[in-house]
Amino acid sequence: MNRREVLQRVAALVGGTISAPAVFAVLDGHAQTPTPDWKPSALGKDELAVVEQVVDIMLPRTDTPGALDVGVPAFIDGMLKEVYSQQARDHFRQGLQYFDAAARKEYRKPFVGLERSRQRALVQRFHDVGIAVERTEGERKQKALVQQVRAAAMLPQRTQSAPVTHPRSFILTVKELALLGFFTSRPGATQVLQYAAIPGTYHGCLPVNQAGNGKRWAT
């Protein structure tokens, strides 16, 4: 039975004796973890090593799987290759080089050669700076908009987004991509967070511990 036939049958079955969730279970796919012989195509080997260690620091294995367990580096490589523009890809790689250069300058070693505690400190520092920069930029834009709305009797029709003055930093881009790859992976969505493919009902105001298992919903 191919996918289309399954779906047609599902439509026919709804309301019948077989519960729809049981039918849907057949369709569950696999997590898109890479095979052992997988090789990056957007990143070089050394670049990949940096990304691997950064995402491991950001989302480590604990009592639940971590970023490396669910294939986040391969996910990021795929995003860079297929989703990012050449310009965004270049920016990412330049940011990576800049980040690695900071490690070399400070410790005379590449990032991947540092002890884990130093790696963590460096990642955290770049991360905190990136967040502060984006927050400041956000506040500046918000203030400008508030002033414009206060002052003008009518607003201009905005037809284009404002040019990006501060493209996101390397560390924050890795974080953004790691969060996306991790929480859309099956372990991330179902073991770290909670996910219901077919909730069946809606309850708008429950005690947290009665909303499924009380964790944050993946979607």
């Binding site: 779906l7 297929e82 284009q160 770290v192 909730p199 069946g200």
Partner: protein
């Protein structure tokens, strides 16, 4: 030739075409239903069961996909692996824009009834009277009482969940049980009433929240709260042509449905003074076929129908079909959106929800009602919602490592946001024309748009932002942020008005029954017919006007007037 003769032809299978097909076939007419796109039967929704980990790239479009669907992607949410197959390829289906213009659409059986937002609101008496009272454009040739029974008819058949509120500006309807507001929305509802005397109600949405009042749609069942509607619903829980009207039409045995059939011209019989049929191009083979019928319903979408009419040149209609008034292609309207505010809500940390409600709250229009007078005409409604922040908000979290994972597991802070849907006034110079110098891959001339917001909308937009911020602040919420996003007319995907109804053939294209003034056996019942835009989502009104027009057509055929 005989096999190409029918009682009726319906062009298009979206929200309006599906209704025309159902009503005409159920009233006994042998009806040919044409759609320019591929066949989609109910249930044939390829991504409808995909879990997040089954969608490539976290459901982000590739650079190549964005390149092919650059205009569709202006929405920000439709060009994704989960739903991009419902939207046109912009390179194969080009249009020109003198000013940013967003024509967001899909070519397949069911049309945008598969991807629509499902919000279903009645228009009120003041919406039909507005033009006459304000001296704007032309008067609607109908009033609320003309449409009310058809709203009843449509709501009963499709199933609309909602709450009756007894508001003059947003008439009550025949509703299935309302979906629930969440904790924060309930609180906001009380505060708006107390502090501003404004209403907030759960969105009225074409979802089944209980059994339908009829047994004509056994293929449909109740909403499972997956909120993956844009992919197509295997439960048939929300209204689409595919799940609802087309199966009903099919059941009569009177429908012949032909996909991949691009209607590019109406055939006008100069001797008889009527339309005799349509010219069709097969989208796959390029073969040309003429089909004939006594009555023709154009339901090809606002600009789809307008394009066919502009392309139908005859001795009688040298400027486009039925275009004696010169209004064909003019008066483009939409709902302007992207302006509003959001905030963070303290408290309710011990409260959450379960299920993904495919719906939000609605704040009905309150501006320019009663004694309220603004420096613009008409008004806007808000659509919004409250939720606990999802994992993507962790981008701004200061934690990393184990602490980040721990933070991720707990539900995020409550946030609330709302954006206005504003009425656009009909403006003669907001128009679409046929660019005969440029052809698409089928050799058909493409559309050229020239439309922009005018002073009335831009003044209203300021209120849309200020009022949202004011209400959120008054409710005691913190970190109130305002937004004014990029917008091109069409982005609301509520485009309408290019073959408007009116009382006078000199200033309008259609009469009170959606008939072309100068050619009564052609009905146009999609968004093209609209004389004003109100601020409510328009689909329910298209359905009601279509059902009303179909009934009229059948009566007129019986009376031998067509």
């Amino acid at each position: 030739m005989d096999k190409n003769i029918y009682d009726a032809i319906v062009v298009g299978t979206g929200i309006s075409g599906g209704w025309a097909a159902k009503e005409l076939t159920q009233k006994g007419l042998k009806t040919l239903v044409l759609d320019r796109g591929r066949m989609v039967r109910h249930g044939e929704y390829p991504t409808t069961t995909e879990d997040p980990w089954q969608l490539a790239h976290g459901n982000k479009p590739t650079a190549q996909e964005l390149g092919r669907q650059a205009k569709q992607a202006r929405t920000g949410y439709v060009v994704t692996p989960a739903s991009r197959h419902w939207f046109v390829d912009d390179i194969d289906n080009p249009y020109e824009e003198d000013y940013r213009f967003d024509w967001i659409r899909g070519y397949h059986v069911g049309g945008r009834s598969i991807m629509w937002g499902r919000q279903s609101y009645r228009w009120s008496e003041m919406d039909f009277e507005g033009n006459a009272q304000d001296g704007v454009a032309v008067d609607w040739p109908i009033r609320y009482a003309d449409v009310a029974p058809w709203y009843d008819h449509v709501e009963t058949f499709i199933g609309v969940s909602g709450q009756n509120e007894g508001l003059a500006q947003l008439p009550d309807g025949k509703f299935l049980p309302p979906m629930e507001l969440n904790c924060v929305e309930q609180e906001f509802q009380r505060k708006l009433k107390d502090k501003f005397g404004r209403a907030l109600t759960i969105g009225r949405a074409a979802h089944l929240t209980g059994p339908l009042a009829h047994d004509e749609s056994p293929q449909r069942s109740s909403c499972r709260y997956r909120n993956m509607c844009i992919r197509g619903c295997p439960f048939g829980a929300y209204f689409s042509s595919n799940a609802s009207t087309l199966p009903a039409a099919q059941k009569t045995g009177n429908m012949t449905l032909v996909p991949n059939a691009i209607v590019y011209e109406l055939i006008y019989d100069e001797k008889q003074g009527r339309a005799s049929g349509v010219r069709v191009l097969d989208a796959e083979t390029g073969a040309q076929t003429d089909y004939f019928a006594r009555v023709i319903f154009l339901c090809a979408s606002t600009f789809g129908s307008t394009q066919i009419m502009l392309n139908s040149i005859s001795q009688r209609f040298p400027n486009g079909f039925g275009n004696d008034s010169g209004e064909l292609g003019c008066n483009i309207m939409d709902h302007h959106l992207g302006s509003g505010a959001s905030a963070t809500v303290d408290g309710f940390d011990d409260r959450y929800y379960s299920g993904r409600r495919p719906n939000g709250f609605y704040v009905p229009r309150y501006r320019n009602l009663g004694k309220d007078k603004r420096d613009y005409l008409r008004g806007f409604g808000y659509q919004g919602g409250a939720a606990r922040a999802g994992w993507s908000s962790l981008q701004n979290a200061s934690e990393l490592g184990e602490a980040l994972k721990q933070k991720a597991q707990a539900p995020g802070p409550w946030t609330i946001g709302m954006g206005g849907f504003g009425e656009i006034l009909p403006h003669h110079d907001n128009r679409v024309t046929l660019d005969r110098g440029r052809k698409d891959k089928f050799g058909l001339p493409i559309l050229r748009f020239d439309a922009r917001l005018r002073d009335n909308e831009l003044r209203m937009r300021r209120d849309m932002i200020n009022d949202a911020a004011e209400m959120l602040e008054a409710a005691g919420y913190r970190d109130v942020r305002i937004v004014d996003e990029e917008y091109g007319i069409g982005l609301g995907i509520h485009e309408m008005g290019t073959a408007r109804m009116g009382r006078d053939p000199k200033t309008s294209v259609l009469n009170a029954w959606n008939q072309v003034h100068a050619c009564k056996n052609v009905y146009v019942t999609d968004g093209a017919c609209m004389t004003s835009s109100a601020c409510q989502n328009p689909s329910l009104t298209y359905m009601a006007l279509t059902a009303r027009a179909a009934s009229h057509a059948v009566e007129e055929l019986k009376r031998r007037n067509l």
